[in-house]
Amino acid sequence: MSPPYIDVEGLKASYDGSRLVLDGVDMAVEENEFVAVLGPSGCGKSTMLQVLSGLLRPVAGRATIAGKDMTGSSSDRPRVGYVFQDHRLLPWRTVASNIELVLEAAGLPRREWDARIDRYLDILQIGQFRDAWPMRLSGGQRQRVSIARALAIDPAVVLMDEPFSTLDEVTARTMRQQLVELWQESSRTIVFVTHSIREAIFLADRVAILTRGPARVLEDVEVPIGRPRRYEDAEITELESAIVDRVMGVWGYEEGTPA
């Protein structure tokens, strides 16, 4: 049996070397799978993505993507696309130029840049903003650019850290729908961090529920709901209720007590 595409074992992480943020996280993600990581605010979800992307070295444990260790400084680590909670575009670079920079850093041939930029901007329906300055775009448009940037480098994995949490509800719903369509077309492996139970169920094949910090995986929940899904589906509501019941005590508040 081959090892999982993303394999996280006994992962412990800390920012200051003393207080643990992750305390033995185990998780496995198959290639082309869409997995949501669900947890309360501040539990260490983003920290896990930072370790997976190579930004933060863990205190203990291991994390591999496609068999390559992501916790060291090895240069042959696979490319990772990262969509942050905020867009993190360089405001002094145009949309196309922001993407060119990551294509250059990824070592992709210059002759492919224009085609890749046009392709992903068109898929995300923002082709008309190719030469625009990021600060002249709306929040949703900037986040689309950020997603295009993540996909354009042909990443082994796309890590998404609550990318729709700052958007208005209508824009967020539209973008969730488009993200699912994009994932189905492109067959990427996506790890999507969120604190919204409904968002996790709507998007993912599987939901890894974390405990309060320092985090470990509380439960792995398969989402047995066919696609296409609607955000208001009764099945989603039913599963959401079931998960709420399960996490209420563990996340620190009981029904009837103030949060």
Binding site: V80, R88, L90, L101, A105, W133, M135
Partner: protein, 273 residues
């Protein structure tokens, strides 16, 4: 962090939505600017009729054509301009490194911070006299005085730029593996550009004021020296003419070069949707 904070950390904000080639903004702005200029003319006129030390406007304007045909004035203007631009360039370089060290703190940061404090507190006239003692009447003295007067303010402004470098953009460049040089070129330096431009614009006017003082003491050329010559001979029309030259160069460079350049370089800042 929200989107607007990313823009805010990228240097001092200016009014959004203004086009880089536009002038001073709305028609009311232009009206107030014109009124300000007119009030200056009115004050000049009042001064000339109530005092013997302010030459009449008409007399000064009549002298302008002859003044402009004197070839040697351009040599003095050029000398002052060279001193200002050269000193400011050195001040920006020194100020940049001082700001970098101060932002890093540590031993050298603290040492440099004390020198910056000292230079800020040193009056330009005293600096000019000290330079006269040290360098005698030489060109280098003027450059040193102007540089010492300007670099601490450049350092203070740029230190804010270094301190507000966006850690989140550094994280992004780390995830996408920009590499050290690319990160400096594409993330750190562009972040510092608005601070550098702001300090150049502020210190350009400061440098002109200081160079005139330094030229009074240290050299036999330049606008400051011409002021002294005219004043010593009680040629009040000449004093007024050199004052007009000074104001024209200062405002002409400010509004004709520096502000349009700043708006063009920072054209990526715009009204958020």
């Amino acid at each position: 962090m929200t989107d607007s904070r990313i823009a805010a950390t990228a240097g001092p904000l200016q009014r959004p939505g203004r086009r880089w080639w536009s002038g001073s903004g709305s028609s009311s702005d232009r009206l107030f600017s014109a009124l300000g200029a007119l009030s200056f003319v009115a004050l000049w006129w009042v001064g000339s009729v109530t005092s013997d030390f302010v030459p009449p406007i008409g007399e000064v304007l009549d002298a302008v054509p002859t003044f402009l045909t004197e070839e040697d004035i351009y040599g003095d203007i050029s000398d002052s301009l060279t001193r200002v631009v050269g000193s400011l360039a050195v001040a920006v370089l020194i100020g940049f490194w001082a700001a970098y060290l101060m932002a890093r703190r540590g031993f050298w940061g603290l040492v440099v911070a004390r020198y910056v404090d000292l230079a800020i507190g040193l009056p330009s006239t005293i600096a000019a006299l000290l330079a006269l003692f040290i360098f005698k009447r030489s060109e280098i003295g003027v450059f040193v005085v102007v540089t010492i007067a300007c670099f601490p303010f450049v350092a203070i402004t740029l230190r804010q730029g270094f301190l507000s470098l966006d850690r989140r953009l550094s994280e992004m460049s780390g995830v996408y593996r920009f590499g050290g040089i690319s990160q400096i070129r594409n993330v750190s330096l562009p972040h510092l550009v608005p601070y550098t431009l702001a300090s150049i614009r502020n210190e350009y006017a400061h440098a002109w004021r200081v160079v005139v003082i330094a030229e009074l003491f240290a050299v036999n050329s330049g606008i400051g020296w011409r002021f002294t010559q005219a004043y010593d001979r009680f040629l009040l029309v000449d004093v007024a003419l050199w004052l007009l030259v000074f104001i024209t160069i200062l405002l002409g460079t400010e509004y004709g070069i520096l502000r349009p350049l700043e708006r063009w370089v920072l054209r990526w800042r715009g009204g958020e949707l």
